[in-house]
């Protein structure tokens, strides 16, 4: 019994202690992946805060943005112009969603809005592939992609810059939405539409702003993931990875999305590398979901979520 325990607990810890540089590499790899999870999760949080809607289409928005970007570049548009154009497309999309989906459904149950986003998800997937085709595409926006050594740790420029860009974006957005009055307006809109209207918050504007920002976030996430693993249909599925991040961090918390993404990114890498061999690998595939399940049992509002108040 104690042998088994020491095998599971002590063995991997000894491995960690015996090669700190490699451990550092693993952690950094986890942080990079985690920043990308955070970025996707952030798109969800923004929309959830503003409209109480779980936007099922966030993953499709990532795919759509990446497809549009690659598609434009394939037409010979230079990178910077393609980036700007794609951003414009995402903003136009936000206006369209507000006008066609959200406005007619104002004051409806959240579940109805949720179902509308499922429809939006399929529309975006289909529309994107109809415009740009369904083949796996290589995305190269000119980020450097070389490996180098720092203090005995091997690092990759692409991953590093992806993580850095994600970190900057996440920080700016966190400040933007937590510290400004738009943060308060967002929470107000999420809490009570009628009351928000009565104190002069224009729902339309808030929604367009939020969906535009979510669209830009989706674009950045699409670029990062696309540069890593190519632009393909499976991009839409990273939404599934964002779900445990949200459960961990709390659906309505920007810092929560960041912390949740990092915890899951680092946790699954460490689990995979050190504990994976003991169970035959693939820990990376289920770690996030098991962690999320545990959180649902212990702290359903997440690490930073607003406490769920229910009067009995």
């Amino acid at each position: 019994m104690s042998d088994a325990l020491s095998l599971v607990l002590l063995g991997p810890l000894e491995d960690i202690g015996s090669n700190p540089a490699f451990f550092g590499e693993v952690v950094i790899g986890g942080v990079m992946a985690g920043m990308l999870y955070s970025l996707v999760a952030l798109g969800f949080v923004l929309i959830f805060k503003a409209s109480g809607v779980f936007n099922f289409a966030q993953g499709a928005m990532v795919l759509f943005a990446a497809l549009t970007l690659v598609g434009l570049m394939e037409q010979g548009v230079p990178v910077w112009a393609a980036l700007a154009l794609t951003a414009v497309v995402m903003i136009v999309l936000a206006f369209g969603i507000e006008r066609v989906v959200l406005r007619p459904l104002v004051n409806q149950e959240h579940i109805i809005l949720f179902m509308a986003t499922i429809g939006l998800n399929f529309f975006l997937e289909g529309f994107g592939e109809m415009l740009w085709g369904a083949n796996v595409k290589k995305l190269d926006v000119g980020l450097p992609d070389k490996s180098f050594m720092v203090a005995g740790m091997q690092m990759n420029q692409l991953e590093l810059s992806a993580g850095l860009i994600a970190a900057v974006l996440v920080t700016v957005l966190a400040i933007f939405f937590q510290k400004t009055r738009i943060g308060r307006a967002l929470r107000a809109v999420a809490d009570d539409h009628a009351a928000a209207l009565s104190i002069g918050i224009p729902l339309k504007t808030i929604w367009v702003v939020v969906w535009s920002v979510a669209g830009i976030v989706a674009l950045v996430a699409g670029i990062m993931w696309g540069a890593k693993s190519g632009v393909q249909f499976s991009l839409a599925l990273i939404a599934l990875k964002a779900l445990p991040v949200l459960i961990l961090g709390g659906f309505d918390s920007v810092p929560g999305a960041i912390a949740g993404g990092l915890i899951i990114g680092v946790g699954e890498k460490i689990g995979e590398v050190y504990w994976g061999p003991l169970v035959g690998g693939a820990i990376e595939n289920w770690f996030a979901y098991v962690l999320a399940l545990a959180f649902l049992l212990i702290r359903p509002q997440g690490l930073f979520g607003e406490k769920i108040i229910e009067r009995v």
Binding site: I175, R184, R187, D191, D192, A194, L197, S198
Partner: protein, 262 residues
């Protein structure tokens, strides 16, 4: 007061009708509210009182008739635009931001008073923070005024109903409205809470000169605090006058005592 529109009333509702499908919620209702008045809107359940408040605050739009505020036509404005004109309201069933603290609820009420672009807000620390402090002071004054210091950090959703109503009033006051619309501010309150609420309403009117229109069922309260009473029944206005006049009005007595219609 600037006196824009001269001697015209602050709010003029003229021949307003609202329909929900086949139901006539309001039929040709006219009501003028002068600056500094406290006007009570009373009537049996389903008389159209809340509908009238909703029309004034832009939540419903009438299919005929017009609404003028400070002498200008404002019939088809949306709620945020009406709020921007200086009209604040509370709701019959309390519409607070339940997850937010009392203080945040009140600060949200000052959103229209805050200026500057969202972007500058995020980047330009100095002025943004100074503005925040300034509004925080205003919010604290309202907290003192309504005697809710003890609960300022409590999430609004956790408060008992009577206090929620008071916080909702605080949020409405935070906008420093010209016209305050209160939909049953005393519903579900005990006697003591009602007395407090009456005092606050009179103080708001007396100290800030805020014009107030309120819906209330407690006749004692209505007769005590209002300068004028308008009575609705089946979507029509059947009386409008001082509390004494309305008390003696035969149509009002009939409506309340249940004389058969037609």
């Amino acid at each position: 007061m600037t006196g824009a529109g001269g001697a015209r009333p602050l709010l003029e509702v003229e021949g307003v009708s609202v329909r929900f499908g086949a139901l006539n919620a309001l039929t040709g209702v006219s009501l003028a509210i002068g600056r500094g008045e406290i006007v009570a809107i009373i009537g049996p359940n389903g008389a159209g009182k809340t509908t009238l408040i909703n029309v004034i605050s832009g939540f419903y739009h009438p299919y005929e008739g017009r609404i003028a505020f400070e002498g200008r036509d404002r019939t088809n404005l949306r709620p945020p635009d009406v709020a921007a004109l200086g009209v604040a309201r509370t709701f019959q069933n309390v519409a607070l931001f339940k997850g937010m603290s009392v203080l945040d609820n009140i600060m949200t009420g000052r959103l229209l008073k805050m200026r500057g672009s969202f972007l500058l807000d995020a980047l330009w620390w100095g002025p943004a923070r100074r503005q925040e402090l300034q509004h925080r002071e205003a919010a604290e004054r309202i907290i003192d005024f309504l005697e809710i210091q003890a609960i300022r950090k409590t999430p609004a959703g956790k408060l008992p109903y009577g206090l929620q109503k008071r916080v909702e009033l605080a949020r409405a006051l935070a906008a420093e409205p010209t016209l305050l619309l209160l939909d049953e501010p005393m519903a579900g309150m005990n006697v003591e809470e009602k007395e407090d609420m009456c005092r606050f309403i009179l103080d708001v009117n007396g100290e800030f000169g805020t014009t107030i229109a309120l819906i209330e069922h407690d006749m004692g309260v209505v007769m005590d605090i209002s300068h004028r009473v308008a009575v609705l029944d089946y979507g029509r206005k059947i009386a409008d006058g001082t509390p004494d006049e309305v008390r003696k009005n035969q149509a009002v007595l009939d409506a309340y005592l249940g004389v058969a219609h037609e």
